[in-house]
Amino acid sequence: MQQRVITVVLLVGLFFGLMTLGSGMSSWRLPDNQQGYAPEQPIDYSHRLHAGELNIDCRFCHSAAEQSRHAGIPASDVCMKCHQFVTSSFDVRQEEIKLAEKEQRKPRTIISDKLRPLYKSLALDETLKPKADVTPQSIQWVRVHNLPDYVYFDHRAHISVGVKCQRCHGPAESMQRMQQFETLSMGWCVKCHQDATKDGIDGRAVHASTDCAVCHY
């Protein structure tokens, strides 16, 4: 009797447990390990296209990485450095130019659906002129690499000694959608610090401390 009660309890528990886990069961991870996290972003931005195919340096957009704790997400107007000209794919624009030649008019600006959220953020209309009555709004990117609040990571410290971006962020230049490549766990940080102190970075000796207060304060 007793055994049966327990079995039923355990089965019910297992059922509800599996229900709760559901989608999260794709891989076995320790709590708080966000490895592989690749949330959908408001703009379907491709690192593979920009950093991979077009070979734009990481620090062109994440320019604060050398000067601040945060690498920073580029402001919308940084995107506009290129995207005031590049508003849709090459083929679409070529077609429009041809069509315009045929119809003997100036080519129209054609905005691809993918880029619409960017122009919306800057409150620009179809011709990329600012809309008078709309206030520009930040793009609500979803944060991918998120350390706990009691961890203080400084991009500057790592960049200045020559740690490559890919060492922590993985091959971003091959990612269509950005994902967390490493575990970003404390053990992973400490291991790298120990290795760097032992072997140096690119042949340069460094002292990567493993004191608590290097990251926790």
Binding site: A64, S138, Y152, V161
Partner: protein, 1058 residues
């Protein structure tokens, strides 16, 4: 116990199995993704801003009219940390507690967000129209317009007020200071023919005599005066000179607690002592004596003669100051300073100070006018008029009769509740403004964020009402172009302006102040008054709170008074002797009543050593409208007691006891009776022990005492700079701790000069602001659970006139052999290789063993999750420091976030860290520059990057200290075995590692003579240096420099804080 084999029962084992299974599932269920967090970049990045980087803006502190130089640390668009401006000629890098607490006031939800008309929210347009309409009516019938402000240091605001008032026939600007110095100005009008407050130069004074002036705490410009006073207070081996500071006062003020010689003297008797002093000085100089009769001196003639001789010997380099509000007394002070030739030397009257301009005569006249119903329009800015003046009920009735009452209050206060219109001014951090502290020194305040509410600068309001719609920035610029530029050497305005905005201040040609010859006729000797019956009452401003405007700031309310150590209340200070006579103890509520019985207040007593036996003292600035908001501040838990009863305010307002005397407002009153009410109110004090004396029955063998505050006298110091050090009583024996801490290039340390430290507590608020230290409320302070990372211990010795006071800042000492580290079961507190005692909050489980084992009692436990529900107030939190949660231990980290920031910044620049580059928050703000922080290791221990190890030329280019070069040329084999120099082949990097303790390293390098001491190293080598409890071999990284009192060697005053 039931039989486990009984199958009808769930066995313990079964239960645990099932529970474990469920727990595992629950844990796995928690493995889902963390909540989605958005990252919002700018749309257009403002030029020069870098996310996560703090930038400093030069500005001027708006906390009080002293207007110290300020560097506002702004990060991601919000001002967070106030720092002193080291270049500022007056404040010299210091900043007081009020300045440090500015950001909390900025992010206050109770600040008015909109203008109010009859208490209702309205638009600026409507309010402007309504005021303009009424003003035109008043102008037409030539009505009286009175504009009341506290001291206006801003030349632009002053000119705007004058411009506004010039459109009325009967208009007057009345300057009313809640803490007035009016008598000093009036006395100078009588003796020098100009109504000015001279600029006191404490740095030039070798002998200082202060009659009640708390110049290190609250008087006129305490930060500036502390910096100046400190200049004469630090003897060195080569120059063993110190200024001598005599203090005569009624209560125990911060300044009195730092004096070399202190007398208890009733303010009624200041005149008597000054008359004797003047008479003696007249004899020494060849000047006719002033009129008047000389009566018996309140203090022994011998002491007066001694003081007079001392002053005379240092004539031209002495200074007598007095805070009396009696013009005759102040005239006598002027006469003495004149006899001593101090004018032009320690007292600058040609470049007077504008930091106090209050004119009590005007204020008294205004009250009469109000009572007579002769005022048609009343404007009040920068001051809560009704809260800070006596005769409250009559004044309120009189103001209610005024047809137009306008307040510029930042939050609703007592006066603004009477106002028809409230036109809230910006917070000083939100607005453009200027200040001329001293004739010829003009400072700028610049906004550091967009105004948080629909407030408007008072400059704009005033100009709007005379038809000028310029912004405050334009008003300021045009005033500077017309009035400040002509006084400057520069010709080009934009260049001049940019320079001023960048630096925060400019020095320009002073205005001409034509003081007359000294008018000896204006001076009379003052007869000693007959002592009156009963007690006298002395009202004083409290450090941190000053006048009522800071009462809404919980940091300042929880700041322990530097002398009494009481928070969150005002109280009646009474001398130990009087308390004994009346059998009063701390916390007994007493009723203080005036002779006519019209004014009374009930407050708890506080027994204050060093207080005059017949004088009671109560702090002003309490009982402020709206402070009932703090009733439930602090953690919400089952035993929480509300701090205040229903509708009760923090403290009581005692402005009712202020007396309008002859031409000045007096904060001293005779004929006071005191009676016990039988009730008690426990004060929230942060220090419950006041003396370090060891009772004989527990004294160790031989009566040996541990001297935590070591003191010596100047005479003894001259003979032996190490005097005051205890006899070595603990021979170095077996050590409990092994020398196994790894050490790298930096070993952080701190040295605090106790001779410079005044105990002002600015560091305490600086630390609170930097390190997100929570406010816990009165109930928790009573339970001794305050969270401040620095406490300033205050110890008394002696009694009566001989009461000595010692202040000692105490924070985590970062012991090399830390007792806390050995008892932590989870290694949450461990030692870093740079000599810091680290506390990892995320590892701490809250056993509190470490706090128990800490000999300095500097660890603070988070008993609760302290309140962080106010999203606006949370903007004050420093994003570089974790907000600690319930159940973890915390303590001073030596601002490790700043250390890391400094190291990383240096590494990004590719240069070694320079000595002094990293400053802790407490060190930065210290007005007395008593704190030195930095690397204890000699400078040559820095690792220096080299391109090629053999090229000395390369070394030069990289500005390597010459010492390392010497060490390099000396050949590493010559270095003693304690110090090894290794060349890391791969990195071409010099690294000098010290295997032994820093003491050994220094000794070794001394032999080699190839090092340059760091600033901390130099301070440690000072013969006055000692470590608290160092005999236990904790090896604290914080050291102290012994106090030197400028007293005769045999004097009992001062010494003996044991």
């Amino acid at each position: 116990m039931k039989n486990a084999d009984n199958t009808n029962e769930i066995s313990r084992r079964r239960f645990l199995e099932a529970a474990g299974f469920s727990m595992t599932l629950a844990a796995l269920g928690g493995c889902g993704r963390a909540p989605t967090e958005n990252a919002l970049p700018f749309v257009t990045q403002p030029e020069g801003t870098i996310p996560g980087r703090s930038r400093s803006y030069a500005s001027t502190c708006g906390g009080c009219p002293a207007a110290c130089g300020l560097l506002v640390g702004v990060r991601d668009g919000r001002p967070l940390k106030m720092e002193g401006m080291p270049e500022h000629p007056l404040s010299r890098g210091g900043l007081c507690a009020i300045g440090q607490a500015l950001p909390l006031e900025l992010y206050d939800r109770l600040r008015l967000q909109h203008p109010l008309q009859q208490g209702k929210q309205v638009d600026w347009k409507d309010i402007d129209r309504a005021i303009a309409k009424q003003l035109s009516e008043i102008a037409a019938k030539q009505g009286a317009v009175r504009f009341v402000t506290s001291t206006v240091t801003s030349p632009t605001l002053k000119s705007s007020i004058n411009q506004f008032l010039s459109s009325f026939d009967n208009a007057q600007h009345v300057t009313f200071d809640a803490i007035s110095c009016s008598a000093i100005l009036d006395a100078h009008e009588q003796t020098h023919g100009v109504r000015v407050l001279p600029h006191f130069r404490f740095d030039q004074a070798r002998v200082i005599a202060s009659f009640g002036a708390d110049f290190l705490g609250t008087w006129i410009s305490p930060v500036e005066f502390t910096a100046a006073w400190r200049a004469g207070r630090v003897p060195t081996e080569t120059d063993a000179e110190m200024s001598h500071h005599t203090h005569l006062e009624d209560r125990m003020s911060l300044t009195g607690s730092n004096a070399d010689r202190r007398f208890r003297l009733s303010p009624d008797d200041y005149g008597g002592v000054l008359s004797h002093l003047a008479t003696r000085l007249v004899k020494l100089s060849d000047v006719p004596p002033p009129a008047g009769k000389l009566t018996a001196s309140p203090i022994p003639d011998k002491e007066v003669a001694h003081l007079a001789d001392r002053l005379w010997e240092s004539r031209g380099a002495s200074l007598v100051v007095c805070d009396s509000q009696d013009i005759a007394v102040q005239s006598l002070v002027n006469f003495i300073n004149h006899l001593l030739g101090n004018y032009g030397e320690t007292i600058d009257i040609a470049r007077p100070s504008y930091q106090r301009q209050g004119n009590d005569r005007d204020v008294i006249a205004l009250i009469e006018e109000l009572n007579a119903g002769q005022v048609d329009a009343l404007f009040v800015a920068g001051n809560d008029l009704t809260h800070n003046l006596p005769e409250h009920a009559a004044l309120v009735e009189a103001i209610k009769q005024v047809p137009l009452v306008v307040s510029f209050a930042e939050r609703e206060d007592d006066f603004s509740s009477l106002a028809h219109f409230v036109c809230p001014d910006h917070h000083p951090l939100e607005s453009w403004l200027d200040a001329e502290q001293v004739n010829g020194l003009v400072s700028l305040s610049q906004p550091t964020l967009q105004p948080l509410g629909e407030t408007r600068s008072i400059l704009e309001s005033l100009n709007r009402w005379v038809g000028n719609t310029d912004s405050a920035y334009e008003i300021l610029r045009s005033h500077w172009k017309a009035n400040v530029l002509p006084r400057a050497k520069s010709q080009e305005f934009n260049e001049f302006w940019d320079h001023a905005v960048h630096d925060g201040f400019v020095e320009v040609e002073p205005r001409v102040v034509s003081a007359q010859q000294f008018q000896t006729d204006a001076v009379r000797l003052i007869e000693r008054q007959q002592p009156t019956e009963g007690f006298s009452l002395s009202l004083y401003p409290k450090i941190g709170l000053a006048d009522s405007r800071n009462a809404h700031n919980p940091w300042l309310q929880e700041l322990p008074d530097p002398v009494t150590k009481v928070t969150w209340d005002n109280y009646v200070c009474i001398s130990p002797l009087a308390a004994e006579e009346l059998s009063l103890s701390n916390g007994d509520v007493v009723r203080v009543t005036t002779a006519d019985g019209r004014i009374e207040v009930e407050l708890p007593t506080l027994i204050q050593p060093g207080q005059h036996d017949r004088i009671l003292a109560i702090a002003l600035g309490y009982g402020v409208r709206g402070t009932d908001r703090f009733a439930n501040i602090g953690p919400d838990w089952i035993e929480a007691k509300p701090m205040l009863a229903e509708g009760e305010l923090v403290g009581k307002n005692v402005a009712g006891f202020i007396e309008a005397g002859e031409g000045a407002i007096s904060y001293f009153r005779n004929g006071i009776t005191l009676e016990k009410t039988g009730r008690r109110r426990e004060l929230a004090t942060t220090q419950r022990f006041h003396s370090l004396e060891v009772p004989p029955h527990v004294a160790p063998h031989g009566g040996e005492v541990r001297e935590q505050i070591q003191e010596t006298t100047l005479a003894a110091y001259r003979k032996n700079p190490k005097s005051g050090a205890p006899e070595s009583h603990h021979p170095a024996g077996e050590q409990l701790w092994a020398e196994d801490h790894p050490k790298t290039i930096h070993q952080w340390g701190m040295v605090i000069d106790l001779n410079a430290c005044t105990g002002c507590s600015a560091c305490l608020v600086a630390c609170q602001s930097e390190n997100n230290v929570p406010v816990v409320g009165k109930d928790e302070v009573r339970r001794q659970r305050e969270m401040h990372w620095i406490r300033i211990d205050r110890y008394y010795s002696g009694n009566g006139d001989e009461t000595g006071v010692a202040h000692q800042p105490m924070m985590c000492q970062h012991c090399g052999n830390a007792p806390c580290e050995t008892v932590c079961p989870v290694l949450a507190t461990v030692h870093s290789e740079e000599g810091l005692n680290e506390q990892a909050y995320n590892r701490c489980v809250g056993t509190r063993y470490c706090a128990n084992n800490c000999p300095y009692k500097v660890r603070r436990f988070n008993w609760f999750d302290y309140e962080h529900n106010d999203t606006l107030q949370n903007l004050v939190l420093n994003p570089d420091v974790t907000v600690r949660s319930r159940g973890v231990m915390e303590k001073c980290s030596m601002c490790v976030q700043r250390i890391e920031e400094g190291k990383i910044a240096a590494s990004s620049r590719g240069e070694p860290l320079t000595d002094g580059e990293i400053q802790t928050a407490c060190q930065q703000s210290c007005p007395a520059q008593a704190i030195v922080f930095g690397d204890m290791n000699p400078l040559f221990l820095f690792a220096v990057p080299l391109e090629k190890k053999s090229e000395t030329e390369e070394l030069d280019k990289r500005r390597i200290p010459k010492l390392l070069r010497a060490a390099f040329q000396n050949n590493e084999k010559k270095l003693p075995e304690h110090v090894s120099v290794t060349v890391l082949e791969e990195g071409h990097k010099w690294q000098v590692t010290a295997e032994a303790s820093r003491y050994v390293v220094r000794k070794a390098t001394e032999e080699l003579n190839v090092y340059e001491e760091s600033r901390v190293g130099i301070a440690l080598a000072n013969p006055r240096s000692y470590g608290v409890l160092e005999e236990f071999n904790f090896r604290p990284a914080v050291s102290y420099l012994r106090v030197v009192n400028n007293t005769a060697e045999d004097a009992t005053n001062g010494g003996g804080h044991v």
